[in-house]
């Protein structure tokens, strides 16, 4: 590809997510998180710790915001915590929000990586190549959701004293200091599902690949699947709630439908659709 070619056929190369993205995607792994069902119990987060070799860092480092929780269960109160004058109590309970890498199709983290350690895969995943990462942390600085986690130390030295290390999942690595990491949508599970399907000479079916968080959810609040698969549960939910990829603002025929993407207006095109929390008035 000569520079001349690039300049002359600029529009072919300047294919944004709104035009279908820069790949001919094989899959587009996506998710639905139903906040009406999510109880904030945190089972997904601990399931993630056990699946993805997440290190525990201890109180001090957690307090400094260095926790490696790829899936972070956020909790918000309806009104100012202290001194709010509207209601005496949080009588509508809490708002829980499980936040994991939103696998944006126009990811702001990808374009700033000086070594292309984070890039978009033909599966629609925002991948992180640990071996390539030099720890510039530009990506984490550019993530609007703050969902990238940096190994400031060799956490593994303390996180898995013998024989805790025997629990480590051999399907993925343990990260050392200087490396950025984040939710991968359990890429090792996706890989296993794809391998199995190929071995059996068939396409990947809905339900073959399930992320650890979705699998573990007691209320089935998380649905995981391939948004390019018409029959996938996740695709049906996106359709039902009239949310589409590649849009900055959804133009819903029925404005009352619950689906939305967190901070959608930033035009990062996340692959996770959330469904509104519901409360009796």
């Amino acid at each position: 590809m000569s520079l001349k070619n690039v300049l002359e056929n600029w529009s072919d190369y300047r294919k944004t997510h709104e035009d279908g993205g820069h790949h001919d995607y094989e899959h587009m792994w996506g998710m639905v998180v139903d906040l009406n069902k999510c109880t904030g119990c945190n089972a997904c987060a601990v399931s993630c710790y056990s699946e993805n070799n997440l290190a525990t860092v201890g109180k001090e480092k957690m307090g400094k915001g260095q926790g490696m929780h790829w899936l972070r269960m956020e909790r918000y109160w309806d009104e100012p915590n202290v001194g709010g004058d509207e209601k005496e109590f949080h009588e509508r309970g809490a708002s829980f929000l499980p936040m994991m890498c939103q696998q944006c199709n126009a990811a702001t983290c990808e374009v700033v990586c000086p070594v292309a350690a984070t890039y978009h895969t033909p599966d629609g995943l925002n991948a992180q190549v640990y071996n390539r990462c030099i720890g510039s942390r530009y990506c984490s600085n550019n993530c609007p959701y703050r969902l990238r986690y940096f190994n400031f130390y060799s956490y593994y030295e303390d996180a898995w004293p013998e024989p805790l290390n025997q629990q480590l999942n051999p399907d993925l690595s343990v990260r050392d200091k200087g490396v950025m990491e984040k939710c991968t949508f359990c890429v090792q599970r996706i890989r296993t599902a794809k391998d199995t399907a190929r071995r059996e000479g068939r396409e990947v079916r809905d339900g073959d690949a399930v992320s650890a968080c979705a699998q573990s959810c007691p209320t089935k609040a998380i649905t995981f699947g391939d948004l390019l698969d018409e029959n996938a549960e996740v695709t049906k939910l996106w359709k039902f709630h009239q949310v589409e990829l590649g849009k900055t603002k959804q133009d819903k025929a029925n404005k009352e439908l619950r689906g939305y993407r967190v901070l959608e207006g930033l035009n990062v095109d996340p692959c996770i659709m959330y469904l509104d929390r519901v409360r009796e008035v």
Binding site: M62, A94, Q167, P170, S216
Partner: protein
């Protein structure tokens, strides 16, 4: 390949060893890899792998979780002989495919670096590691010299064939001293259910209910069977979405999901229930003929004004709750720890059940859950009064030998009981446990048990309303340590000491269990041969045993009005709340669960004290300040977390932390609120009134940043969590109108 020192055969050899090296070295965090150059060749090759072991392929085996008493079915992923991950067993009617965080963290119980690897016996006052043989010789010698009728057992919830063996052992001993102790229990509720419905744990039909009113029953977090109820809750919330109302002194996980969360003055929950009954009778013409005249009279005394005076709950809230119950019928009214653990706890639970009767819920949304066909296998659920009975028996010298397993009473029983001194009067104490803890530290012999992922067992969940099953607990991997033994095996060995002849034939618990399952009725075995049935059971992880159908019969019991006293010296009430995470403290030695932020406050690796903003203002404290919480039994110190999810008269300190001797992750972390509880028990059941302790708080002058997740407590106007009204939801997704 010419010019290269390595040929194809060498290359393959190298690759083979490398692969095995990774497996044998257990984990990929090792900084070095085994190389031929280094000469580290003592690697056992998988030339002849063990049966079913395919290097690189994970195989899932079914078992049953033992992290809390709910007995959820699990699948454990086993690769190269190690268990790596657990998931819910989709076949299990208890939990379906889901699991809670505590279950996931069972892996870190199993692989915990602080697990006991060898037995310990007390030699000259200190516990010393010995071989199993030596420890067992001590047990045998002591048992031979003691009166077997004075042998006591303190356990957590037990069921299945372990319960059968334990009963047999105690029968052989001629002793009935079995104390089933759980600090987190539903004992008061069970008593009331038994008295008023004829069944201790009826079935709650969340799928039929349109509204739920919970008086402190944290069914999403810590009440009875949280994962089961979470699954049902999801159903309750979909379609024509039900309304959830929660009354409790401190917001629990269930409270945080409520449509309407109301704190009442601690202990007055029953009065609030009667107030709601009053509105139902006066405004909604509820049918009261099932209630005796005395109860009707009592209800009539609690008009809204009186209820507001006693409970502190505004009249509009009382009316709002009542309207929801009426407009969203049928309903379910539940009660749990924060309503039960008072001197009038039985009254509170009874008043809640009176509401169910008035609302016509019994038979509609509260049904019989049937019973295990073989009652000997049924779950023996725990109570806190069991610990009081143990203390009394130990004190009066009724115990010569005490076996303790599945419980840590020295940690969870309040100081005023004086359990440590009383246990000192028991001459011989044996702990069967995987970990050194506060109770084991006082024992004469500690026998290290296999972890729940290494041991055999069967369980019958206390709450399995849709179908009765025997849950199979099968080992997910070989034992990590040679000098450990299974609970069932120890029971068998003890039975053999007692000369119980019918058990002599069994070489181990495995063979006993196999035989016990073989002898299940033919209807349960569904025509399978013994061997096929055994394999089928292990594969599924459970055995459906059919249901002994039951029915509920409503009996009302008399109610006497409680009285509440103020205490000027100790103006506040302590809520030692249960966290789904550390449970009663037994899971505090698991790093994942310490690092997992509390669901409500988002605090990790510590204890804290929750205060309402108005209370904090009154005492001039801000978040992160350390306060002293003082009862007439002592005091604890903790950092303050301020939010509007706690009653202004309440200071909530979660239980689970404050261990003195429980391994590297739990010891000397936080405080144990149970230690400063004041004397007091429920008048009817004798359960410890853990939510009734009067305290006062004071500033210590110390302060530091509170270690918790997230910087912002609100969304600051960003639409991170968007909320719609239930009306909109019912319009778009109700009535089967779903994706």
């Amino acid at each position: 390949m010419s010019g290269n020192d390595i040929n194809r055969r060498d290359f393959l050899k190298f690759m083979g060893l490398g692969g095995v090296g990774a497996a044998t070295l257990s984990g990929c965090d090792m900084p070095t890899t085994v190389t031929l150059e280094e000469g580290k060749e003592k690697v056992v090759s998988y030339l002849a792998p063990e049966e079913y072991v395919i290097p690189g392929i994970g195989v899932w085996y079914a078992s049953t979780c033992q992290q809390c008493p709910s007995s959820c079915g699990i699948h454990g992923r086993v690769r190269e002989g190690r268990v790596l991950k657990v998931e819910g067993n989709p076949e299990s009617s208890v939990n379906g495919g889901g699991l809670c965080q505590m279950a996931h963290a069972g892996l870190q119980s199993h692989y915990n670096p602080d697990r006991l690897r060898k037995p310990l016996i007390r030699k000259g006052g200190t516990l010393t590691e010995v071989s199993w043989k030596e420890a067992w010789a001590v047990v045998e010698e002591k048992l031979a010299a003691s009166d077997s009728a004075k042998t006591g057992w303190m356990t957590g919830t037990v069921s299945g064939h372990q319960a059968v063996l334990l009963d047999a052992l105690q029968e052989a001993n001629g002793s009935n001293k079995h104390y089933v102790y759980e600090a987190i229990n539903n004992s008061v509720g069970e008593s009331v259910n038994k008295a008023m419905l004829g069944e201790a744990t009826p079935r709650y039909r969340f799928d039929k209910a349109q509204s739920i009113l919970s008086f402190g029953a944290d069914f999403l977090g810590t009440w009875v069977s949280p994962v089961h109820f979470s699954k049902e809750y999801a159903e309750f919330r979909t379609g024509d979405r039900g309304v959830l109302m929660v009354v409790e002194p401190k917001m629990t996980l269930t409270g945080a999901n409520a449509d309407f969360w109301v704190p009442a003055k601690p202990g007055t929950e029953g009065v609030l229930a009667l107030g709601i009954a009053n509105v139902l009778l006066t405004k909604h013409q509820a049918d009261a003929k099932l209630l005796p005249a005395s109860v009707r009279k009592l209800i009539s005394e609690y008009n809204v004004a009186k209820v507001t005076e006693v409970t502190g709950v505004g009249g509009d809230s009382v009316v709002k709750i009542t309207n929801h119950l009426k407009n969203h019928a049928p309903s379910i009214v539940m009660s749990g720890a924060s309503a039960h653990e008072h001197e009038n706890g039985y009254f509170n639970a009874t008043a809640a059940m009176v509401l169910n009767i008035l609302l016509g819920n019994v038979g509609k949304t509260i049904e019989s859950s049937g019973a295990m066909p073989d009652v000997k296998l049924a779950s023996k659920t725990g109570s806190s009064s069991a610990a009081m009975r143990l203390a009394a028996d130990a004190d009066k010298g009724a115990l010569e030998t005490l076996f303790i397993t599945g419980a840590n009473p020295v940690f969870t029983v309040p100081s005023y009981v004086g359990l440590v001194d009383k246990l000192a009067k028991v001459p011989f104490k044996v702990s069967l446990t995987s970990f050194m803890d506060e109770t084991a530290a006082l024992s004469d012999v500690i026998l290290p048990l296999l972890s729940s992922y290494e041991d055999w067992g069967t369980t019958a969940a206390a709450y399995q309303p849709t179908e009765k099953v025997i849950g199979i607990q099968q080992p997910l991997m070989q034992p990590l340590y040679a000098e450990t033994k299974g609970f069932g095996d120890v029971l068998l060995d003890l039975l053999k000491i007692q000369g119980a002849e019918q058990y002599g034939a069994y070489t181990d618990y495995y063979s006993y269990l196999q035989n016990a399952l073989y002898s299940l009725p033919a209807s349960v075995k569904q025509g399978l041969s013994d061997a096929d049935f055994w394999h089928d059971s292990l594969k599924k992880g459970l055995i459906k045993v059919g249901d002994a159908k039951g029915s509920l019969s409503v009996k009302t019991i008399d109610l006497t009005a409680p009285s509440f006293e103020d205490n000027a010296d100790f103006p506040m009430v302590l809520a030692p709340s249960a966290r789904q995470g550390l449970w009663d403290g037994r899971l505090a030695n698991i790093p994942w669960l310490q690092e997992a932020p509390d669901q409500i406050t988002k605090i990790f690796w510590d204890s804290w004290a929750e205060l309402h903003p108005s209370t904090a203002k009154k005492f001039g404290v801000k978040e992160g300040d350390v306060i002293q919480v003082e009862s007439d039994q002592g005091s604890i110190e903790a950092q303050v977390y301020i939010y509007k999810g706690v009653h202004p008269d309440v200071v909530a300190v979660p239980m689970g932390q404050g261990h003195e001797n429980y391994g590297r992750y739990a010891t000397n972390l936080g405080v144990n609120p149970l230690k400063i509880l004041s004397p007091g028990t429920d008048k009817v059941t004798g359960e410890i009134a853990a939510h009734a302790t009067r305290v006062r708080i004071s500033k210590t002058g110390k302060s530091s940043d509170l270690a918790r997740l997230g910087g912002s407590e609100t969304q600051v106007g960003r639409k991170l969590v968007s909320t719609v009204s239930a009306d909109v939801f019912r319009r778009t997704e109700g009535g089967g109108n779903v994706a």
